[in-house]
C-alpha cells in the first residue's frame, strides 16, 4: 500500500497555502456539482414510473400533518406578539386601525414562509437527513442500487414531492392562524376595533402579496428538502464529518444550520427581486 503525501513532502512553505486553497476550492466545486446533479435527479425521479403513491402519503403525513401542531403554536404566538407589538408601535401615532394591515402583510409576505420553513427544517428536515444518512452508512442505498432500483425514484423523490406540497399548505395554515393570533391580541386584548382590523387587512393585502408568499414558500421548501436530503445522501463524502454514527449526527446538524441560513438569505434575495 503506497501512501504519498504531496502536501508534506513536495510543497514548500510558500506553496502550501495555495495548495490548501486550491484543494478547498476543488472540494467546494465538486460538492456543488454533486449537489446539483442530486437536485436534478431528485426532480426527474418525481416523474419516473412507477410512482410510489403510498410512500408519498406516508411522507405527507409525517412532514405535513405531523408538523401541524408545531406550526399552529408557532403561528399563534407569532401572530399574538405581532398584534401586541404592532398595537404598541401604532398607538404612538394613533394609527391602531392599521393593525390588521401590518399583521397580515408581515405574516403573508415574511414570517409565514420563513417560520414555516424553519420549523419544517427543524422537525422533518433533520429527520430526513438522519434517515438517509443512516441508510447510506448501513449500505441500504448501495443495496437499492445493486437491485437496480433507482434510489432517487424510490427514496428521495417522494420526500421532495411531499415537502413541495406540504410547506406551501403549512404556510397557508401559518398565515391564517397567525392573523387570528394578531386579531386575538389586537382586538380581544387591546381593544382595537374589529371592523377596522378586518377591513384594513382586506384593503392592504393584494394578490401580489399572496403570490410573493407562495413563491417564497415553494422556494424555501425546495431549498430545505434539497439541502437536508442531499447532505444525508452524501454523508460519507463530506469533509470533516468523521465516520459512522458521528458523521450522521454532524451532517444532520450541518444540514439544519445550512438550510436555515439559506432560507434567510434567499428570503432577502426573493424579496429584493419580487417586491
Amino acid at each position: 500500500m503506497a501512501e504519498t503525501t504531496i502536501l508534506e513532502e513536495e510543497s514548500s512553505a510558500f506553496i502550501r497555502p495555495f495548495v490548501f486553497l486550491g484543494d478547498q476550492f476543488l472540494y467546494i466545486v465538486t460538492d456543488l456539482g454533486r449537489m446539483g446533479i442530486f437536485l436534478f435527479s431528485s426532480l426527474v425521479g418525481i416523474f419516473r414510473h412507477p410512482f410510489r403513491f403510498r410512500e408519498l402519503i406516508k411522507q405527507l403525513n409525517f412532514i405535513g400533518a405531523g408538523s401541524l401542531t408545531v406550526i399552529f403554536f408557532t403561528a399563534l404566538s407569532s401572530g399574538m406578539v405581532l398584534g401586541l407589538q404592532g398595537y404598541y408601535s401604532l398607538h404612538k401615532f394613533g394609527a391602531e386601525g392599521m393593525l390588521g394591515s401590518a399583521v397580515s402583510l408581515t405574516l403573508i409576505m415574511e414570517l409565514g414562509p420563513i417560520l414555516t420553513a424553519l420549523m419544517v427544517t427543524g422537525r422533518a428536515g433533520s429527520a430526513m437527513c438522519a434517515e438517509i444518512g443512516i441508510m447510506r452508512i448501513s449500505e441500504q442505498i448501495d443495496a437499492l442500487e445493486c437491485m437496480a432500483i433507482d434510489p432517487f425514484r424510490y427514496l428521495i423523490s417522494p420526500k421532495f414531492l411531499a415537502v413541495l406540497i406540504s410547506v406551501p399548505l403549512l404556510t397557508a395554515v401559518f398565515d391564517v392562524v397567525g392573523i387570528f393570533g394578531g386579531y386575538l391580541a389586537g382586538v380581544g386584548l387591546m381593544g382595537v376595533n374589529s371592523g377596522s382590523f378586518l377591513s384594513g387587512m382586506q384593503q392592504s393585502v393584494t394578490n401580489h402579496d399572496i403570490r410573493l408568499g407562495v413563491i417564497k414558500s415553494f422556494a424555501f421548501a425546495l431549498l430545505l428538502v434539497w439541502i437536508c436530503s442531499g447532505r444525508g445522501y452524501f454523508v460519507q463524502q463530506i469533509r470533516g464529518a468523521g465516520f459512522g454514527a458521528e458523521s450522521v449526527s454532524k451532517v444532520t446538524t450541518q444540514a439544519v444550520v445550512l438550510s436555515s441560513i439559506s432560507v434567510l438569505i434567499f428570503d432577502y434575495l426573493l424579496t429584493a427581486v419580487l417586491l
Binding site: M1, A2, E3, T4, T5, I6, L7, V19, D23, L26, Y27, I134, M135, S138, E139, Q140, D142, A143, E145, C146, M147, A148, I149, D150, Y154
Partner: protein, 270 residues
Amino acid sequence: MPDSIVQNAPEIAIEFDQVSKSFGQRTRKHLVLNEISFTIPRGLTTVIAGGSGQGKSVTLKLILGLLYPDSGRILVDGINVPSLNKRELLKLRTRFGVLFQGSALFDSLTVFENIALPLRERTGMSEDEIRARVLATLDQLDLTGHEEKFPAQLSGGMKKRVGLARALQLEPEIVLFDEPTTGLDPVMTREIYQLFDHMQKQLGYTAVIVSHDIPGVFDIADQIILLNKGEVDVFGDVNEIVHSEKPYIREFAEMTMGDLFARPEEEKCH
C-alpha cells in the same frame, strides 16, 4: 438462471485487467489496488481474501460499478463496467445479487417486505405470485414464521439468511458476498457457509465471497484470490497457499492458518 445463458456464456464471468484504485485527495493519496489482474470462473465459488484495508470490499464495489477504477478494465461477460452509463449499469446490476457485510436490510420494512422488494420493483409479478415466491424462499432458508418481524428483531445469522433470500429473488447469475460471516459465532459461521455452498450448488450461480475469515471460508472455495498490499495472487485451493514459496504468502499463511500450517504434510492433503 436460464439454461441458454449458461450454455452460451464464456467460462470467465469476471475479469480484472490491470486495475488500480486509490482513495483520498490529490494531496494525500492512498493506493489500495495496484494494477491487479485476475479472472473469476463462471458457476464456481471464488473467495477473495486478505487482511483489513487490502481492498477486498473495494474489489466488490468496482465489480458493481459503485466505485470507478483510476485505471484498468473490469469486464463482466466481456462488458467493461466503468464504461457503462447509468442506465446500462442498472441493467447490468439486475444480473447480480449482493449480500452486504451488515446485510443492508431496510429497517422500516418487515422480513417479507425486504425479500419482496426486488420482485415488486423489478418484475411485473402479481402480489399473489410474489407472496408464493417469498414464502417458498423463506421455507427454503428455514425462515418460516419470521416474515412479519423487522430486521432489528432478528439475530445476526437470520439477518444473513434474509439478506441471501433477498439477493437470490431475481435469480442472479453472479452473487457477491461482502464479509458474510462478520459478527457471527463459529457455529453459525459454519452453518452459513454450508448454506452458501448448498445454495450455490443448487442454483449454479457464480459466487464471489470477500472474507477475512481464514481459513474457514476456504472450505467452500473453488478458487482463492489473495490481496496483499495492492498485489494479487490466485490459488486453486488452500494447499497451494500453504506450499507457496513467496515470502509474504508464507508469512500470511503462518499468521492466519497457524494450525493448518503446523500439521504434518500428509494431513494437509486431506
